[in-house]
């Protein structure tokens, strides 16, 4: 339903990258250049500038070099296809559908560092599931940041869903527990738990997050069914360690990549996919609740290179 719109958005968002990766590569070939070290270096520049990261870039380049040596790649079409295939394989190797509880509410825990777009992404998810006709309940477990509860409340009003909250400064795990009880009692299909932003380096706060996750199991043993890390696509290489650290504490099931409507290329996705098993499940393309799209690795790569 929002397919057309999102493709357009995604396309324009990735336009820059496309320009960088495609136009320049074609230029190189139109000038009749061979695939030499200079060319590879320029390609390296393009990838790093897209936040793909040194390690992943070197990996891609060395596979490219290898294939060239083995005469697998000889021309421009081949090189692009090769890159696209390599990346698609990476991005699509993992199941990226949303896990659902076999019975009772499906619980989605949302976490991430400060300001990445957690609360906004929750509004988007709420919209997404509401479109499916699901009954959604929100838990305001960010009890720390000023007006974080009010922010979620406003989204809940706009989207016409219930919100479970306590006062600022309340125990976030207690809020989550309240919410899970309410979700069961009110027969909700989906419970989404908002949490305060925290840096992965803050031990006590990471432990607090672990507690939020654990406390819900008392009511629903296999909750949370989805644990989404929200990543800001403008973030550079630190995104990788963020993903690793959050994964250690709450076992991530997916990534919500936000702010792809900016000029940041989201190349960080490739880096993350190269280092972690956690699939990207959704992308955020704006500040409104309908600016959400299910992540599609193939299309993402195509949009990147087309």
């Amino acid at each position: 339903m929002f397919l057309k719109k999102s493709i357009d958005k995604l396309k324009s968002a990735l336009d820059r990258t496309r320009k960088i990766l495609n136009t320049d590569i074609s230029d190189l070939f139109q000038l009749g250049r061979k695939i030499d070290e200079n060319f590879l270096e320029e390609l390296e520049e393009k990838l790093i500038t897209a936040d793909v990261g040194v390690e992943t870039t070197l990996y891609l380049i060395s596979s490219l070099r290898e294939s060239y040596k083995n005469k697998e790649i000889e021309n421009k079409e081949a090189i692009l296809d090769f890159l696209k295939e390599t990346l698609k394989k990476k991005l699509s190797k993992k199941e990226n559908t949303i896990a659902r509880a076999s019975e009772g509410p499906t619980v989605i825990l949302v976490a991430g560092v400060n300001g990445v777009g957690k609360t906004t992404s929750i509004a988007k998810l709420t919209y997404y599931f509401s479109q499916e006709g699901k009954k959604v309940i929100l838990a305001a477990s960010d009890t720390f940041r000023a007006a974080a509860i009010e922010q979620l409340e406003k989204w809940a009003q706009r989207l016409d869903v219930d919100i479970i909250k306590q006062k600022m400064g309340a125990d976030p795990a207690a809020v989550a527990f309240d919410a899970i009880e309410a979700a069961v009692a009110r027969k909700a299909d989906i419970l989404i738990v908002d949490t305060a932003g925290r840096l992965h380096t803050q031990k006590n706060l990471m432990q607090e997050l672990g507690k939020i996750s654990r406390v819900m199991k008392k009511k629903i043993p296999d909750a949370p069914h989805e644990v989404l890390l929200v990543l800001d696509s403008t973030t550079g290489q630190n995104a990788i360690v963020q993903a690793k650290q959050f994964d250690e504490v709450i076992s991530l099931t997916g990534i919500f990549l936000t702010k792809l409507d900016g000029t940041a290329k989201g190349g960080v996705v490739l880096a993350i996919q190269n280092q972690l098993e956690t699939p990207v499940k959704f992308i955020g393309l704006g500040e409104q609740y309908e600016d959400i799209e299910v992540f599609d690795g193939e299309r993402f790569v195509d949009a990147l290179f087309s």
Partner: protein, 479 residues
């Protein structure tokens, strides 16, 4: 510990023949390393490239300090260049003379603008000002409430008109500041993408209407390659006066600092070191440079060590070492020097892992290194001045007294003295090796002894390092 020292002596002696000039060839390795370090730190590709090129040109042909390898020397030069590029420290805020001063915060979504407005208000209150906070973000749900809560905690008035346009809100707030008995107006604008023409135009209008004395870009220190693009656009439109780099309390390498500095040209004034309003700090170019090059790099150590070692003091000890007259007193002096450096473990922890002697890693982790120093100190403190200067007089009964006085065993004391004698012997020999130590010391006159665990420290010519106080602890947020 003494074993370690002699290891390091050998290590340094191996390096002394590498004097000469910095050439393209002998810094090749360093250039690769630095390039990778910068890119991994998220310094923009183009910025990193021109930066390295510039430093390389500057460094080529420079005389190598004898005791330092070309690689390390080049890293030191890079460090120096990073510091001077991101410095000098400038936390000035322009104040208006006849009307209320206007400070405008702008930036991408979620970068930390609202929090920084609160921090800035607190900072100004401490300086005797009476700030007014202005809620000009009517976009993000709860943004006004967020600022109001911050205002309440600070006891600062908050101006808001949810149904007005941001330029109108800001203009009115500035006009009313004096009525509200406020001398500084802080504008909290909505986050926006630099490619959002409509919203960027709105910022331009706010600027036109309020004529801010200070326009600060609030940037997330975790930003990647795109930092240059947004900074450039904001700068082009607004003419930035400064940058606030937020969320530096995490472990991001923060290469965006260099990128932004390069494209916007304005100083990075403050850094956000946490979510609470007291966590606004001055930008420290040295600290940032070490961070960008990566924890554990020699550059960080060089910066710390340089100013710390009082050169005269060091020379005196050095002389004594050469003549074999090094006493336990001198030994103690070195300890205190090291302590001034902010703790042995801290210092050792900054060395790349492969430079640590075997076993040191574990000791560091268990806090043994610090303990070891403490115990050694305790023993020496239990000696009389005479004993410290002439350890030979320490016979069995004296040793027993020292052991009791320091709460150690006589074996511990014996061991300390044995190691000390060995070291002195070794140093005496070196002194007689004709100029060996001179070579060892290189040009900087540093001290390759205990602190010689930091090879090359003595010779980092041109380091403008100022001592950083202790490494700041990660802030804990109070609930």
């Amino acid at each position: 510990m003494f074993d370690t020292i002699s290891d390091k002596f050998q290590d340094i002696s191996r390096r002394i023949f590498s004097g000469g000039k910095l050439t393209e060839k002998n810094i090749e390795e360093a250039i690769r390393e630095i390039r990778t370090a910068l890119l991994e730190a998220d310094v923009n590709y183009g910025v990193a490239k021109t930066f390295i090129q510039r430093v390389k040109e500057k460094a080529l042909g420079e005389q190598l300090v004898k005791s330092v390898k070309a690689r390390e020397q080049f890293i030191a030069i890079v460090f120096d260049e990073l510091v001077s590029l991101m410095g000098p420290v400038d936390t000035s805020i322009s104040f208006a003379e006849k009307r209320a001063t206007v400070i405008m915060m702008a930036g991408l979504q979620g970068s930390g603008k609202t929090t920084t407005c609160g921090k800035m208000a607190k900072f100004l209150i401490k300086k005797g000002h009476r700030p007014l906070l202005v809620a000009a973000d009517i976009q993000r749900p709860g943004a006004i409430e967020q600022l109001q809560i911050l205002g309440e905690t600070l006891g600062v008035p908050v101006f808001s008109e949810p149904n007005w346009t941001p330029p109108k809100i800001c203009a009115k707030a500035v006009a009313e500041a004096s009525k509200k008995n406020c001398d500084v107006v802080i504008l909290d604008t909505a986050g926006r993408l630099h490619i959002d023409e409509g919203l960027m135009k709105e910022l331009g209008e706010i600027k036109k209407k309020t004529k801010p004395d200070n326009i600060f870009l609030v940037t997330d220190s975790m930003t990647g390659q795109d930092a240059v693009n947004s900074a450039q656009e904001f700068h082009k439109l607004l003419g930035l006066d400064g940058v606030v780099l937020t969320k530096l309390d995490g472990d991001t390498r923060g290469g965006a600092a260099l990128s932004i500095r390069e494209v916007a040209g304005c100083p990075i004034k403050f850094v956000g070191m946490g979510e609470t309003l007291d966590r606004l700090e001055e930008f420290d170019p040295q600290r940032m440079a070490s961070r960008i090059l990566g924890e554990g790099d020699l550059a960080g150590i060089a910066a710390i060590a340089k100013d710390l070692i009082n050169e005269e003091e060091a020379e005196k000890i050095q002389e004594k070492m050469l003549s074999g007259q090094f006493t336990l007193n001198d030994f103690l002096d070195q300890f205190s020097m090291m302590k001034k450096m902010g703790g042995f473990s801290d210092l050792m922890g900054m060395l790349p892992k492969n430079m640590l002697p075997p076993g040191a890693q574990e000791q560091l982790q268990s806090g043994d290194a610090e303990n070891m120093i403490k115990h050694t100190e305790a023993m020496i403190h239990s000696m009389t001045p005479q004993e410290r200067n002439h350890p030979d007089v320490l016979d069995g009964s004296r040793r027993l007294r020292v052991a009791k006085g320091s709460g150690k065993t006589i074996q511990d004391v014996n061991q300390l003295l044995k190691q000390f004698q060995d070291m002195r012997k070794m140093m005496g020999n070196m002194g007689q090796m004709g100029g060996f130590m001179d070579k060892l010391m290189g040009g900087g006159g540093g001290l390759p002894s205990m602190a010689g665990g930091l090879p090359g420290m003595g010779g980092m010519g041109g380091m403008s390092g100022k001592m950083r106080s202790k490494r700041k602890k990660k802030p804990r947020r109070k609930k």
